[in-house]
Assembly symmetry: C2
Homo-oligomer: 292 residues x 2
């Protein structure tokens, strides 16, 4: 990434995805914070049009303006697909935006969030306070620990839903995209349990998506299904998440519960949920995914 | 827009959407062509990862890699919603990608395409030949004329579907986003006729979408409905099209015909069509659109 001042005095943050031959620029007013934590370099910028921006190791993590799409789509589809999600584990997710969405579900009794880097959460409390407004919920337990190690030590059949809300598969997030980790997740999930993980861009990262899906199946999950949503500040603006099922699959969408959800959403709805599950033909051909 | 050479000798094309505070970069190998036509500045670049790129007046028009999403979504949803689209008019669309998709429908008997700038089509024939492979279809008539004037002279009730595949509402495309033009379209459409127009980004351009929808209703259409799709090389990577109906609305999706379509698609499918119609709650609240 770079930050440049243009001839008109405007300042621009650039994240260049070199392997994808594309880059994203956001106009900024200035840098609010930067530090090297024990695990990664964290920066916070004030942008002109996207509010606060968090950058980790040079990659956009989230902005105030568009994170709602990501956080809603990482939580509500999987939670409204599981028949009765009471015990939820979030691996990563240190900005706490996913946690907030999960806690909106009244049936959820316990959420354990395991992010390796406490500094991400502390900076989110400061610069993205709206995402952290549920952190004091008595059902939430925030741990700052290695997610792979934590999963290896967790009890069998102790979770209903696991949400892997991680950085990209380089750096600290690397161990969260492989068969050994998924096998542990599968063991920790109770009968009928579901996992969901962000799975990058359908346009740019088909290799990753294919290998992730294969690793999920190889590690004991019976089925997987990817879903899509827009994400303007991630490479290509087009993102995906992939669900893996320990049970029968993904036919159990609790549509009536989703329609009667006792909380407001900005992106998620019953219709959007169903639409997000409809991956395009090129994706189905590349992955073997069948329409639900 | 700018083209810069970086310290590592890489060359990058940048389109900056100043009003949106964001920009897109594409790595390029070089510029293949540039000219000032009678109407606009047209450039063709060879990109590293997105194939050929056409730029008009500094804005990305299309790339080889991702135009399929746009062209399929500008044509198939509206054509599979109209009960029997025989006569189609395309306003703009000079790259001929929408025309190709429309001509895949065996029931279409005649397509008139009216683009003001013949040079766009000639350059598309040269640099995007796959998009022009149906230009010699005897059902196609390519006119190079002013779309607003053409529509004003067209006969009443002479078209079933009008597709407005235009540039942004600045420059030559400006007259295509207002009530006077829509009133002419409404007159030219036969009973039950449908119009569809690209309507920019749901995240960035809500003002435009709202005023376009209002102008459609004010000009005589009975209903309008927006749909969404990803478009990685347009600002925010998240785009929309808005359909307007002269008839009953949009309940007539010919699902069985769409499922049995005698041509291959990469983005479009029955499920994707239905999903694209599901706009998110924030959009419904801002526009008053109801889920179908």
């Amino acid at each position: 990434m770079t930050v440049e001042v243009k001839r008109d005095d405007s300042q621009w943050f650039t994240e260049r995805a070199d392997e994808a031959g594309m880059g994203l620029q956001l106009r900024i007013r200035g840098k609010l914070h930067e530090e090297q934590s024990d695990y990664q370099r964290i920066e916070i910028y004030d942008t002109e049009a996207f509010g606060h921006l968090m950058v980790i190791d040079g990659f956009v993590m989230l902005t105030e303006r568009d994170n709602f799409v990501y956080h809603e789509m990482m939580s509500h589809p999987v939670l409204f697909t599981h028949p009765n999600p009471r015990r939820v584990v979030i691996i990563g997710g240190g900005d706490c935006g996913t946690l907030r969405e999960v806690l909106r579900h009244p049936g959820v009794e316990e959420v354990v969030q395991v992010d390796i880097d406490e500094r991400v959460t502390r900076l989110s409390e400061q610069y993205f306070p709206e995402l952290c407004e549920a952190n004091d919920d008595p059902r939430a337990r925030l741990l700052f620990d290695d997610g792979v190690a934590w999963m290896g030590n967790a009890a069998d059949a102790s979770a209903d839903v696991i949400i892997v809300d991680s950085t990209d598969p380089v750096g600290p997030g690397e161990g969260l995209f492989n068969r050994a980790f998924y096998a542990q997740c599968c063991r920790v999930l109770d009968e009928g349990g579901l996992l969901v993980q962000q799975s990058e861009s359908p346009l740019l990262h088909m290799d990753l998506i294919q290998s992730m899906r294969q690793a999920m199946i190889d590690s004991g999950f019976t089925a997987c299904h990817s879903l899509q949503f827009p994400l303007p500040t991630y490479p290509s603006g087009w993102w995906s998440a992939t669900m893996a099922s320990k049970g029968e699959g993904f036919e159990g969408f609790r549509e009536a519960d989703a329609a009667a959800r006792p909380f407001q959403t900005r992106y998620y709805s019953v219709e959007v949920h169903q639409g997000a599950l409809a991956m395009p033909p090129f994706f189905l051909r590349a992955t073997g995914q069948k329409p639900l």
